[in-house]
């Protein structure tokens, strides 16, 4: 990798890691969503470095354009109650578990990098990862999963509407008085 390529990678990687940490530690979910947006955009930049131009565009359109905006909408609907209160309950054990998981993962990464042979990027033909090549692959070899994914998205839309529509009975009061008898109630 030449100098500019390395610099580009390290800037994108640092921004992605900072965005991920800010997302995970955000007390205010709006900030978390914006940090997620930062991470998504830097990952799109890394896709460009890996010569996956079509996926970089898809990443920007689907994530930045749809998913993060959906998160922001839901956070705004929930309003004040979407932010988490400061949670002292089992804070020590949770912090310890997080530190242990992080340490084990870092150790595993170092170990694997130490024993593995470097992954080299071979020379690629022109147009690799462009919309022409991906489109040809998508509509020849992968046409059945592609059509099935449209069915998946359709089912997801219908399910989201059915779940979020709002005619859910409130079984909580009956559950509080007579435990065990509330499970018959269905929306």
């Amino acid at each position: 990798m030449n100098v500019i390529g390395s610099l580009y990678f390290y800037v994108c990687a640092a921004v992605a890691i900072a965005g991920a940490i800010a997302t995970v530690t955000a007390r205010n979910p709006i900030r978390g969503a914006v940090s997620l947006l930062v991470m998504v955009v830097s990952i799109a930049g890394l896709f460009l470095a890996l010569s996956a131009e079509f996926l970089a565009a898809i990443q920007l359109i689907v994530y930045a354009g749809a998913i993060v905006v959906l998160f922001l909408f839901v956070i705004m609907i929930l309003g004040e109650s979407s932010s988490s209160v400061h949670d002292k309950k089992r804070i020590v054990s949770r912090t310890l578990a997080a530190a242990l998981l992080g340490a084990v993962s870092l150790g595993a990464i170092v170990l694997v990098v130490g024993v593995s042979t470097p992954l080299q990027a071979p020379r690629i033909r022109a147009g690799f990862g462009g919309i022409d090549a991906i489109g040809r692959a998508l509509f020849s070899d992968w046409v059945v999963p592609f059509e099935l994914s449209s069915a998946l998205l359709m089912v997801a839309v219908l399910g989201a509407v059915a779940i979020a529509k709002g005619d859910i009975k409130r079984p909580l009061e009956s559950a509080a008085t007579t435990p065990g008898s509330a499970s018959e109630e269905q929306p």
Partner: protein, 103 residues
């Protein structure tokens, strides 16, 4: 560019996945939990695209990333709908309070 080292991308993907999994396990806010899942799926996508760059004979990695993004959009739509339904029932979005199926 023919000697580009792809290990950095895979290591970055592993680090991002670790951050996402820690967030998923430690946080109690459902929205932040869903965002942690997004971070993990993004890390996996990055690894898939990097491996596709290492084996550029076909487009399996990039196509798989495409389908992961599609499944992810569906997952977020359903997940946020469940969050809204849960908020309507409980007036809270903490995972500790989602105990409807417990008894």
């Amino acid at each position: 560019m023919s000697t580009m080292n792809l290990d950095h991308f895979v290591v970055l993907s592993a680090i991002l996945f670790t951050i996402g999994s820690i967030g998923f396990l430690v946080r109690r806010n459902v929205i932040v939990t869903l965002m942690s899942i997004e971070i993990m799926l993004n890390a996996v996508n990055l690894a898939l695209v990097a491996f596709n760059r290492a084996h550029p004979a076909n487009y399996s990695g990039q196509i798989f990333t495409f389908f992961v993004i599609a499944a992810e959009a569906a997952e977020v739509a359903i997940g946020l709908a469940i969050v809204l339904a849960m908020f309507r029932l409980h007036r809270t979005i903490r995972t500790d309070d989602a105990t409807l199926l417990k008894n």
